[in-house]
C-alpha cells in the first residue's frame, strides 16, 4: 500500500455536470498537507439524498486512503455506483489513491452464460455515459455491451474503466449477457485487469488480425480469474475489422476454447478496403460470408455488425433478414428501439418452425421405434435436414416462439 504523498499529488477532476447532464456527477479534488477532508456538495437531489451523498463521499475517500483534501461534488442525480466511480477516478488522477478500490454494493449477477446462448442483439452502452446504463436491461436485448473503445475519448479511458467496473458490479441488467468491449491491445490488457474481477460474461476484442491476440487476452483473463476466484465463464468474441482479420478468420475463431463468436466491424473494414459503406452492404458480402464460414468451421456463432441509422427501421429489418439468410445469428444495436426489429428479423418464420417441428416429431418417433431412417409421409428425410430442424426448433424455443 502506498500512502498518498502530497509532493506527487495534484488537483484533479472527473465526471460531468451542467444543466444538460443527467445521472452523472462532477468531482474535483484538491490535495492539501493537513486539515483533513473538506467536502462541499451541490446537488439537485440534496433534500432527499444530500446526507447519503456526503456519507458515501467520506466513505469512498477513506477507503482510498485520502486523508487531507478539499473535495467539491456537483451532482446531477447520479446513482451511488456512479458517484463512487467518479470520486475514485478523481482521486486516482490526483495521485492520491492507495491500491484499494471503492466498490459499490453488488447486485446478484445473472446466471453464468452458456456458450451457445442466443446472441441476437447486443445493445451498445458508451462506457462513460451512466444515464443509459441503469435501464438498459429493461429493453430486453440478449446482451448489453459496455464499451471502453470507440465511444470513449482517449482522455476518459481511465474513467470509463472504473465506471464500467462499477456498473458490472452494481447494475442489474436482468437476464442480459454482460459484455465488455475492451480497447485494442495493449491498452485492452489494462482494461481486463480492472473489469475481470467483476466477472463480465463476455469480452469483445477489437481489431483482431491474428490468433495470437486472442490467446494473449485469453491467457490474461485466465490468470485474472484464478487470482480473483472467478468461477464462471468469460467468453470471447473477436471483432474482425480489416482485410487481414478477415483473411485470418478461421485461425482466430479456433484460437481459444473460450471464443464463442466472431463478429465484424464494418466501419473499419470498409475504411481498410477504401470503399464506401452502403445500406445494402454489397462491398462487405465476401468478408461477411467468409466470417460466417470460418465461424461455422470452428463451431462458433457468426454475429453481424451494427446498422447505424437508428431511425430507419425498414432498412434495419431488411439488413437483419439478409444477415440471417447469410448465416449470422445476431447483430449489434445502437438504440433500444432496434431490439424488437432485430429479434423479429432473426426469428424463424412460423412456416419454418412448423415444418421443422414436423421433422423433429418424425425424428423422435423413429428413435422411439429404433429406426435409423427418418421419414415424413412418403418422403425420407436427410440426416442433415434433421440436424438443421433440431437446431431451428431449439432456437425457436429459446426465443419463446415454439
Amino acid at each position: 500500500m502506498t500512502a498518498s504523498d502530497p509532493k506527487t499529488s495534484r488537483a484533479a477532476e472527473a465526471g460531468q455536470s451542467g444543466s444538460d447532464i443527467r445521472s452523472d456527477v462532477h468531482v474535483s479534488i484538491e490535495p492539501r498537507e493537513s486539515g483533513g477532508l473538506a467536502v462541499g456538495l451541490e446537488s439537485r437531489v440534496a433534500p432527499y439524498y444530500g446526507e447519503a451523498i456526503l456519507t458515501q463521499t467520506r466513505h469512498v475517500l477513506e477507503t482510498l486512503g485520502v486523508k487531507n483534501a478539499r473535495v467539491a461534488i456537483h451532482d446531477e442525480g447520479a446513482l451511488p455506483y456512479v458517484i463512487a466511480a467518479r470520486i475514485e477516478t478523481a482521486v486516482r488522477r490526483a495521485g492520491l489513491a492507495n491500491s484499494h478500490k471503492a466498490l459499490p454494493e453488488p447486485v446478484e449477477p445473472p446466471a453464468p452464460s452458456g456458450k451457445d446462448r442466443l446472441r441476437r442483439s447486443r445493445l451498445y452502452l458508451p462506457g462513460t455515459e451512466p444515464k443509459y446504463m441503469i435501464n438498459a436491461g429493461l429493453h430486453g436485448p440478449d446482451a448489453i455491451i459496455l464499451d471502453l473503445e470507440d465511444s470513449v475519448q482517449h482522455a476518459e479511458k481511465d474513467a470509463a474503466r472504473i465506471l464500467v467496473r462499477n456498473a458490472l458490479r452494481a447494475v442489474s441488467f436482468g437476464t442480459c449477457e454482460r459484455m465488455v468491449r475492451i480497447n485494442q491491445l495493449p491498452l485492452g490488457l489494462e482494461d481486463l485487469a480492472e473489469i475481470i474481477p467483476e466477472a463480465p460474461d463476455l469480452v469483445l476484442i477489437p481489431k483482431v488480425e491474428h490468433p495470437g491476440q486472442v490467446t494473449q487476452v485469453d491467457r490474461m483473463i485466465s490468470e485474472l480469474k484464478l487470482r480473483h476466484q472467478i468461477n464462471r465463464p468469460v467468453w470471447l468474441m473477436p471483432i474482425l475489422e480489416s482485410g487481414q482479420g478477415i483473411e485470418n478468420a478461421a485461425p482466430i475463431a479456433a484460437a481459444a476454447e473460450s471464443v464463442v463468436a466472431l463478429t465484424i466491424g464494418l466501419e473499419d473494414y470498409t475504411a481498410d478496403l477504401g470503399v464506401a459503406k452502403t445500406a445494402e452492404g454489397r462491398e462487405s458480402l465476401y468478408a461477411r460470408s467468409r466470417l460466417v464460414n470460418a465461424a461455422r468451421a470452428a463451431g462458433v456463432q457468426a454475429i453481424d455488425s451494427v446498422y447505424s441509422d437508428a431511425g430507419d427501421r425498414e432498412g434495419l429489418k431488411r439488413w437483419g433478414e439478409a444477415s440471417r439468410a447469410l448465416g449470422f445469428e445476431g447483430m449489434g444495436c445502437i438504440h433500444p428501439a432496434q431490439i424488437p426489429v432485430i429479434h423479429a428479423a432473426f426469428a424463424p418464420s412460423p412456416a419454418e418452425i412448423d415444418s421443422a417441428q414436423k421433422i423433429v416429431g418424425a425424428f423422435e418417433q423413429a428413435q422411439q421405434r429404433g429406426v435409423a431412417v427418418v421419414s415424413l409421409g412418403s418422403k425420407m428425410v436427410d440426416p442433415a435436414v434433421v440436424q438443421r430442424a433440431l437446431k431451428l426448433v431449439a432456437r425457436a424455443k429459446a426465443m419463446g416462439l415454439a
Binding site: R44, Y48, Y49, L138
Partner: protein
Amino acid sequence: MTERVELAHNAAQRRVPSMVNNKPQIPYLGVGKYQPRGRKHAPPIRSSKDYPENGDKRVVDIETALRKCGLRDGMVISNHHHLRDGDQVALMMLEAAAKIGVKDLLWFPSASFPSQKPAIDLMEKGVIHHIEGSMNGPLGDYCTQGKMRGMGVLRSHGGRWQAIQDGEVHIDIAVVAAPTADMFGNADGSHGKSACGSLGFALADSTYADHVIVVTDNPVPFPCVPWQIQGNNVDYVVEVESIGDPARIVSGTTQITRSPDRLRIAEFVARFLREAGIMKNGFSFQAGAGGIALAFVDCLRRMMKEDGVKARFVRGGSTKYLVELLQEGLTDYILDGQTFDLDGVKSMAGDSRHAATSPFTSYNYHGKGNFASLVDAVVLGATEVDVNFNANVVTHSDGRLLHGIGGWQNCLFAGCSILALPSFRERIPVIVDEVTTLTGPGEMIDVVVTERGIAINPLRADLLGAVKGSRLPIRPIQDIKAEVEQICGGKPARPKLGDRPVAVVKWVDGTVLDTVWQTG
C-alpha cells in the same frame, strides 16, 4: 398574511385549514361523501334596454371597459388560459386595473403561466391581493415562499366550474380573450390569427360573472359563427392589436418522447388496455399532451388497427395524434377541452366531429353527471404516488408548486385511471411511503405503469383478473418501490416542509383535500 390558521385533519388524514382567505371551508369528507344543497349562484338580471339596440358593445380600451363595469378595490377578476404562455390579455387587464388605481384584487385565472410573472410586481404593489388558480414557475415560487398575502387555492378544471356555479367564488368582472368576436360579444376560439381552439374554460366566467368583457384581435361583422361565448352574456367588447403570441399559444408540433424508457411505459399502457379488454369496439379514452401520453396514443393506434377496433370518442387536449385517429376513422368523435397544437386547432375549425367541450360538460361534479365518468380509460401523469395509490400532481416532492391540477382530478372518475410514470426521476423515487401533497385519493387510481412493471390497485380485483395470464409485467407496487429504492441507494429523506399553509388543494366537490406548506 399573518392570520392564525386553525388546522384540522380531514378524512384523508391530512391537516387542512378551516378558513381560507376569510372563508370557512369544509374539510374533505371522502369520495362522494359531501352533499351540496341550495341553488346555483347567478348573475344579476339585466335588461336589453340598457344595452345598445344596434348590438354594438364596443368600447375604446380595456381600461374604459373596466371603469364602465365599476371596477373597485377587492373585486374578483378572471381570465381563461386557452392562450397558455402566449396570453397577453390577462396582463393588459391587470395593468389597466393598476392604472385605475384599485387595490386588493383577487385574480382568478383558470391557470397562470410563467409569462405572467409581472403579476408578482402587482402583488408587491398591492394591486392584486392574491391569486386563486394554478400557479407554477415564478408565481408558484412566490406562493410557496409565503410571499402572497392570501392563500392560493388550487382547483381542478371541474372544481373551478363547481366553485363558480356554487357561489364559492363570485366573479365581479370576467375578461375573456377571444381569437374571433363580433361587436355583440359572440366569440369563438378556433379562427383568427391567435386561434387556440376551444374557449371552454371561459364559459363559466361568461355565464356567472356580474360583468363580462370580450377582448379580441380579430373583430368580424355580426354574426361571429360559430360562437362558443354567447354575446348575450357580454357587457363590452374591446378590440386590440394582439391578444397573444401565436408561437406560444399552440405548439407547431407536439413531439412524441424519444426516451426508450418512456416509450416502454407508453407501450405497457397500450398493451394493458388491450390485454384487459378495455380496448374494444366503441370504447373511449383520454390522454394528455405529454411525451408519454402521445407515445401511448401512437402505440394504441397501431394496436387498434391490428385488432380492427374503433373508438366511439376520444377526449382531448387534442393534438395531431388524436386528429389522425379521427381522420383515419379510428374514432367517431374528439370531445376536446383544450387544443394543444395547430393540427388540433385546424381540425376543430373544420371538422364537425371534433367538438369543443367545457368543464361543465366534461368535469363539473356538482351537475347531473359529467363526461369524465363515461370515459373508459384515462392516462395521466403525477409527481409521486404512494403504496396506497394516493398521488401528487401539484407539487415537487419537496413541496414547491409545480403544476395546476388541470382536469387530472376529474379524470380519475374514468372507468380505469392509469398513472404512467418513470419509476424514478433523476435519483428521486416516484413511489413513496407518503405523498408530499395529496391531489388524488388512492381509491380513485387504478393502475400505475412504470418502465419496471405495472402495479394494479388491489381494490380493482376485476382488472387484476382481466390481465391474469397475460405477458404483462404485473407486480405489487411495494415490489417496484423496493427495487427502485435499492437502485437509488435507499429511501429518500423526507423533505422538510414549513408549518405555515400557503395554498390549499380542493377536491372536485369543493372540500379541502390537502395543504401546500411554505418552503424555503
